[in-house]
Amino acid sequence: MEELIVWLRHPGLNHYLILSGLLFSLGLFAVLTRRNAIMVLMGIELILNAANINFIAFSRYVTTTLDGHVVAIFVIILAAAEAAIALAIVLNIYQNFNTVNVDEINKLKD
């Protein structure tokens, strides 16, 4: 108990890793359970952010170089591209199927 309190008082690498693990799990839960395609996208954004926290936490505490920051920038760039493409696809699906429910979108061509 004493050790736990001491641990809680000094944020270190493990705090950030646990935060990112929880964030990843929340994002995964959204991806698994949500029917709305846009909610699935939000879950993916949470997962990408969890990965980024890991990169930067390791960059501060383990490698002590800025390489993790550069990787995080690439992740952010790809997340932006992914969001743009995915939302364009969702809008197109909405025009064709009149729904964004991922369970009902089961035809490639009608």
């Binding site: 693990g21 709305n36 952010n49 002590t64 743009a84 809008l91």
Partner: protein, 167 residues
């Protein structure tokens, strides 16, 4: 006495996790999108604690200013009436809870039990932007150029896909 650093760390951590929970569990999709805003801000604060000032600013600019606006556009454009049809259901909640809890427990167990080689800490800098810039134009030049091409292609493709077809 708990110092201010620790208090602020937990404030940002709880902001992030609480907002992310609202994103995941809220029935109203507009509320979920706005909770995502606070989750992104909380993560930007966490980056500041990790001495990543440039990444924190980039997070605010790109995630909050770009991706979140895109998501809000998506929400507004794909719901017939904002107030009536803005709900979103869930499926297979129980198996998903089991799987997610198992993965979370595994991840945290691995993080906890691994002896990370804590060789030291990143040294404090006035700003990380200039060093990141040097890295991008020397060690990571090829990924940097590829990323610019990917962005160009992705944005052209997005404009192409989202355009309404002429009848």
């Amino acid at each position: 006495m708990i110092d201010l650093y620790t208090v602020l760390f937990y404030v940002f951590m709880l902001t992030t996790l609480g907002s992310a929970s609202i994103v995941v569990f809220s029935k109203n999709i507009v509320r979920a999108a706005f909770a995502l805003l606070f989750a992104f801000f909380g993560i930007a604060g966490i980056y500041v604690f990790l001495l990543a000032d440039f990444i924190a600013v980039t997070q605010v600019l790109i995630y909050v200013g770009g991706i979140l606006v895109l998501i809000l556009f998506g929400v507004m454009l794909t719901n017939r009436q904002i107030n009536v049809d803005a709900k979103t259901g869930t499926v297979q909640t129980l198996p998903a809870i089991v799987i997610t809890a198992a993965i979370a427990a595994t991840l945290i167990g691995i993080f906890w039990s691994t002896a990370w080689p804590l060789s030291g800490q990143l040294k404090m800098m006035d700003n990380t932007a200039s060093d990141i810039g040097s890295l991008l134009l020397s060690k990571y030049l090829l990924p940097f150029e590829v990323a610019s091409v990917v962005l160009l292609v992705a944005l052209l493709g997005a404009a192409m896909i989202a355009r309404r077809e002429k009848k």
